[in-house]
């Protein structure tokens, strides 16, 4: 029983922004797994602590694609700290909301961003994001 998506979601689904890969990324976030039906990969390019470029690839439903797309827009040109402040709620709100059963997609998008930053920090500082791990496993359990 799917509720229709908002116009914003459909816009990002129809014309996803920043699709693709970055050849030599400064960080890659890979979250989700095929069992759940959602996989997101996010690639970032960072210069002077600013995310100068970002691309994604997503296997997943309409909401997964739209949240990925929206997340890339929201962090492009932002500092690492700003990007880390991005919450899944903010992604969902920027899309004028998501149906309740699709909220996990926004979590995935937030996690993909965090994953990419974690990877970037590991590469540059040797230490990742303190205490961070993707939440999708957890959510998967709640979904049942």
């Amino acid at each position: 029983m799917a509720s229709p998506y908002s116009e914003k979601v459909m816009d990002h689904f129809r014309n996803p922004r920043n699709v693709g890969e970055i050849a030599n990324p400064d960080g890659i976030g890979k979250v989700g797994n095929p069992v759940c039906g959602d996989i997101m990969e996010m690639y970032i390019k960072v210069k002077d602590n600013v995310i100068t470029d970002v691309k994604f690839k997503t296997f997943g439903c309409g909401a997964a694609i739209a949240t990925s797309s929206m997340a890339t827009e929201l962090i492009k040109g932002k500092t690492i700290e700003e990007a880390l402040n991005l919450t899944n709620k903010a992604v969902a709100e920027a899309l004028d909301g998501l149906p309740p059963i699709k909220m996990h997609c926004s979590v995935l998008a937030e996690d993909a961003v965090k994953g990419a930053i974690d990877d970037y920090l590991k590469k540059t500082t040797g230490k990742g994001l303190p205490g961070w791990k993707p939440r999708n496993e957890e959510i998967h359990e709640h979904g049942h």
Partner: protein, 395 residues
């Protein structure tokens, strides 16, 4: 934009002849069939005529048809009603892993009440083995419920063989096991003769064969005792209380009459289109597979898995092109697990997530199929281009 509907397994448009038959029973002939006055008598006879029309489609007797509000009620009624009456004789039920939720959920509920249910596996084509039924039977078995045709992958189960296994048990050991068949998808789509097939109960639903939504029936073989599901008035010989949905039943009856008359030509028309679509999809889209047995399937069912991409995103793209289809992906169902049917035939999760069902109908044309075969490969290409699982040039 012209819209193309390819989701006939979900529901069908009410046939114009069906609607015409129903129309007088709303405002003009509106009496309660239980009333003895003229307003009641004219609807009573309309209901009885509908009962004959429904019975005729499956070679049953009219008095073996009990009207319900749809396929779900028929299934709940059959399972609960037989379990309740026979619980002193045994507490074991047999069904399959690919049944519709309207069978699986009542079974799970019966398990909570102390019944034991065996969920039989299927092979990679979706077929149930009648030997498995035989092996699963214990001396506590009171009911076997197997669907005639699967709603997702269209596979047609060996009902006659399964019935023989069950009847053997009666003849050799004197153990009566009731056989219920969920025929919601098969009813009106392929020939059904309850006497040849031998089941005790059979569920069907009006809106799957160009009849109205909200009506269905349970065929109950003469002599079968069953507990009522809805209790109240004396309607349906005390087996199903509630004021009859007269226009709905009249429409359902008409839809059955039309299905009986047109069955052969519908099967022929659909089988041709189905096979064209299957061939076209498999030819045009690499790394695509057909789900369900290639020939022992409903004439109108095409279910394919397209690797590396997810079902709902395919559906939304199809919808943007005006094409209505369905998916076994979890994303439409409110859970995260993909279709239990696709998992049961052995698909890995990620492939199950990437499946699409096209179901064809009376009004589907060659042009519709051509259009899908033109549009869908482009959608697949677009989605694969953004899939992290897909490596260009095949993986």
């Amino acid at each position: 934009m012209k819209r193309i509907y390819l989701d006939y397994a979900a529901t069908t448009p009410t046939h114009s002849d069906v609607f015409a038959a129903m129309e007088p029973y709303f405002g003009e002939k509106f009496g309660n069939p239980s009333s003895i006055h003229s307003f009641g008598r004219e609807t009573r006879s309309a209901v009885e005529k509908a009962r004959e029309q429904v019975a005729a489609l499956i070679s049953a007797k009219p008095e073996e048809i009990v009207f319900t509000s749809g396929g779900t009620e028929s299934n709940n009624f059959a399972l609960n009603g037989i379990a309740e009456i026979n619980k002193t004789k045994g507490n074991h039920l047999i069904t399959s892993r690919i049944e519709h939720p309207a069978v699986l959920e009542p079974c799970q509920h019966l398990e909570k009440q102390g019944f034991v249910v065996t969920y039989l596996p299927v092979d990679k084509d979706g077929l149930i083995n009648s030997d498995d039924v035989k092996k699963a039977i214990t001396d506590k078995t009171i009911l076997v419920s197997i669907m005639m045709a699967n709603n997702e992958i269209g596979v047609i189960e060996p009902i006659e063989e399964i019935n023989r296994v069950i009847k053997d048990k009666l003849e050799k050991q004197g153990q009566k096991i009731y056989f219920h068949v969920d025929a919601v998808q098969a009813f009106g789509a392929i020939p059904i003769d309850v006497n040849k097939l031998g089941m005790d109960l059979l569920s069907c639903s009006g809106h799957k064969l160009y009849g109205p939504k909200g009506v269905g029936a349970l065929y109950i073989r003469k002599g079968t005792r069953i507990a009522a599901f809805m209790r109240g008035g004396h309607q349906e010989k005390n087996r199903r209380a509630s004021t009859e949905n007269v226009p709905g039943l009249v429409g359902f009856g008409k839809a059955c009459e039309l299905a009986l008359r047109e069955l052969d030509s519908r099967v022929e028309h659909l089988t041709g289109l189905r096979d064209k679509l299957i061939k076209g999809l498999l030819d045009k889209i690499p790394e695509t597979q057909l789900n369900g047995h290639p020939t022992r399937r409903l004439p109108n069912n095409v279910n394919v898995s397209v690797r590396y991409i997810e079902g709902e995103s395919m559906l939304l793209n199809l919808d943007m092109e005006g094409i209505a289809a369905s998916t076994g992906s979890a994303c439409t169902s409110g859970t995260l697990d993909p279709s239990h049917v696709l998992l049961a035939i052995g698909l890995p999760h990620e492939i199950a997530h990437g499946s699409v069902r096209f179901t064809l109908g009376r009004l589907t044309t060659q042009e519709d199929i051509d259009h899908v075969l033109d549009v869908f490969p482009k959608i697949v290409e677009k989605l694969r281009a953004m899939s992290p699982l897909y490596k260009k040039g095949g993986k």
